[in-house]
Symmetry: C2
Subunit: 443 residues, 2 copies
Amino acid sequence: MKKLTAGLLALLLAAAANAQQAAPEFPDARASDPVTLGYMVGSPPPADRRVAFEDGSYLRFPQLRWALSHWRELRPTAPIYRGSGKLSVLPRAERTDIDAVSFTPMGGGPRMTWAESLAANYTDGIVVLHRGRIIYEKYFGALTAQGQHIAHSVTKSFFGTLAAMLVHEGKLDETALVSKYIPELTNSAFGDATVRQLLDMTTAIKFSEKYTDPDAEIWDFARSAGMAPLPPGYQGPRSMYDYLPTIKKNGEHGAGFTYRSANAEVTAWLVCRVTGKSAQQVLQERIWEKLGAEQDAYIQVDSHGSAIGAGGLNTGLRDLARFGELMRLNGAWNGQQVIPAAVVADIRRGGSPEKFRNGGYTTLPGWSYHNQWWISHDDHGVFEARGVYGQAIYIDPKAEMVIARFGSAPWASNIYLDPKSLPAFRALAEHLLATDAGKSKRR
Amino acid sequence: MKKLTAGLLALLLAAAANAQQAAPEFPDARASDPVTLGYMVGSPPPADRRVAFEDGSYLRFPQLRWALSHWRELRPTAPIYRGSGKLSVLPRAERTDIDAVSFTPMGGGPRMTWAESLAANYTDGIVVLHRGRIIYEKYFGALTAQGQHIAHSVTKSFFGTLAAMLVHEGKLDETALVSKYIPELTNSAFGDATVRQLLDMTTAIKFSEKYTDPDAEIWDFARSAGMAPLPPGYQGPRSMYDYLPTIKKNGEHGAGFTYRSANAEVTAWLVCRVTGKSAQQVLQERIWEKLGAEQDAYIQVDSHGSAIGAGGLNTGLRDLARFGELMRLNGAWNGQQVIPAAVVADIRRGGSPEKFRNGGYTTLPGWSYHNQWWISHDDHGVFEARGVYGQAIYIDPKAEMVIARFGSAPWASNIYLDPKSLPAFRALAEHLLATDAGKSKRR
C-alpha cells in the first residue's frame, strides 16, 4: 500500500511535469522534420539550414533532429566492425493492427493510439520484435534503415553489461574500490567508491546532470568528451582521462541512486583497464562481432582517442533491436552464449527500488538501476536501456517483445517522453498477449 | 630528341632531389612502425604515444603513420555506403616470385628488390592485381585488410572521373566558365577559368602547395577544410565554400599545368552543383555502390558538412584496387558499364605533356594531367592516381596490372617516393609480361 501511494504520488508529479512541458514551445514532429526543412542540403546549405558542432546548432531543436542521425559528420568516431560473421536475419511478420493500439498517457489525458504516440515522442525510428520477428518497423525524420543514429545513454547498458561480464569472469571485483584498478581516481570522488556502487550509480558525486542548466557539471563533462563546443580560450580538460579525476565527492556512497553519466564513463575506463584494450575493441570483440549485425557501428572518441562510454555509440536501429533480443534470450544467440545467462539474470533481477526512489525519476515508480540498465520490477519483467532525446531498448520478457527506438525530441530528459511511451509499450505488450490468447482459444 | 633531353634533365633533377632527401633525418619503416611504437594504446595512451588533431601531432612523423590509418578517429567524416550489392570477389593467385623482382632506382644507385622497395617507401599496404586476380597483397604499420586508410589526393581522381562523366552526359560544359555553374566564384581566380582548365589544373591561381612552407596557401586551404588545426583566435574561413572564393588569380589560365588542390575542391563543388547532391552521395551512387566493394568508404567533411573532394576519401585497400581494375577494364564491371568507355578512353589519352613540363614534377618526364589523373604516355599506357605520403593507384594496361598502395612516408611529396616506386612498378610489369611470354613459349 505504501508503495502504491508512492507510485501514485510519482504519477501525479509526472503529470505535473508533463503539463509544464506541454506548452507549445516547440514545433511538432511534422513541422520539425529535418528532411522537409532541408537541413544540410545544398552546396553550400543555406545558412539557416546548416547544422554544425562548433556553433552549437547540433544541440538546438529542431537542428538536433538532423544531428542525431548524422553524428559522425560532426565528431570524430571509431568504427566498431560487424566482422565477417553471418548476418542474423530477423524474420518479418509485420502486423497492421498495431497502429490502432490505444492507451491512456501516464498522468491522464485523452486516449492516444500507438501511431499518434510516435509523432508525440518525435520518433526517428522504431522496430518491434515479437518472438524475434519484426512485427513493426517505421522510420521518420533523418533516419533510414541503412543509417545510424546516436544511442546516447543506451551506450551505458552495453558497457554495464561488459563490466558485469568481467565481474562474472572474476576479472573485476565488484566489492573492490574503483581506485584499485584506476589509481588515477584515488583522490577523486570515485577513490573510495566500490565497483558495485559505480555500476549501480549509487556513488555520491558533485555532478549535476541537468541539461537545461548551462552551469551543470554535465557540460564540463560534455566539453571534455568533445560532445560540446569549447568556448574561446577554454583551458579545461580535453579528455575523459583528464576530467574524471577532478570530480569531487558529495555525500556518502551507497546511500541512494543518482543518475550521473560520469559513473558510466568510469565504467568504460574500468573495462579498458581490466582488459588492456580500447572500449570499442572490447565492444566489438565481445558483442558486435557476435551479433550478426547488419552494419558496422561507431562510437565517438575524445581527443585522446578514448570512446565515450556514457553515450557515444551509434548503430543501425535493427542492430539495436538485435542486442535487445539477445538480452531477452538471456544472452544466447545463434547457438552461442554471447553473454553468460547468469549475467543477464542478474541484470534482470535489478538493483534496489528503495535506493532508486529518491533519484528523481517520477515516471519510473518502483524501478531500479543495475549494471547500467533500468529495471521496472513490474509483472512483465520489463527492463530498459534509455538515452536522452528518446533512445530506448525496451524488453518485455512476458510478452516476448523487444522495442528499439531512436528519437530526437526537444527535451533531453526521458521524463518528458515516458508518459506517452511507457504506457504505449505496455499496451502493445498486452495487445500481443491478448491476440495470442485469442488465437490459442480459436485453435 | 628534344623530348629525350628534357627527360634526361628531369631525371638528373630527380636524382638531385632524391640525394637531398636521402639524408637520414627520419627513422626507417621498421623503427617508425606505429604498432611497435604503441601509438594510442593504453587507457590513457602515454603522453608520448598519443596522436591528436588539435596539437598537430597527426601530421608529424612518425605519428602520421598511425593517423593515416585512423583518420575518422581524428576528424568528422561522412559514410559512403557499399550498399546491398553483391561483393565483387577478387580471385587469388598469389605469386612468390614478386619479392625478388629487382630494379634500379630512378637517378641510379644500387639495384633494389621489390620487397626492399616496400619498406623504403614506408608502405602501409599494397595489392597487385594481374588480369583481375590478386597476385600480391601485404599490410604493414597500422593498416589491416579490414581497415581503411586515407587516400589523400587519390580522391581527386574519383571526382575528376565523376566530373568527366557529367561532361560526357552533357550536364557539364567543359568549355563553359566555372562561374557559369558557381557564381560565388565569379570574383575569384576561378571566375574566368573554364571547366576544362580546372579539370586539367591549367588554371593560374595564387596558391602554393609546398607542404614544408608553413605560409603556403595549402595550409589556409587545410585549415578551412578542417584538415589542419586552427591557431588560437583564428578568424579565417571554416569551410571550402568560404575559402575558395578568396583565391586570387596569378597569371593566365591555360598556359601550363600547376598542381593545385584548390582546383580539385572546385571540381567537387561543380559535381555537387550540377547534380544537386552532396559529393559523397554522387560518389556512392555512381561508383561505390556499383563496385561490389568489401567495405563502406568514408570521406572527411568540413564544418558545413561538405566532403573534402581534394583529399578526404578513406577506403579499404582492396576496394581501391577494385576501382583501379574498373578503370583498366574501361569502366565495365560486373556486366555493367559503370563509367562510359569514352570517359575512360579520354582520361587515358591524357592532357598536354607540353603544358605539364614546367609543373615541377621532375620524376614524371613526359607525363600529363587530365581529369585529375596522371598520365605517363609511356609504351605501357600507364596512368595513375596519386596522393601525398605514398597513396597510389597505378594502372598498367599493357601488363594487365593494377597496383593499389597506401603509405605513410615522412615526405608529403611523391617526388621523394617515385624514384623507388615507379621503377619498381615498371619492373614488376615487365616481369609479368616476361613470365607470361615464357609460359606461352613453353606451351
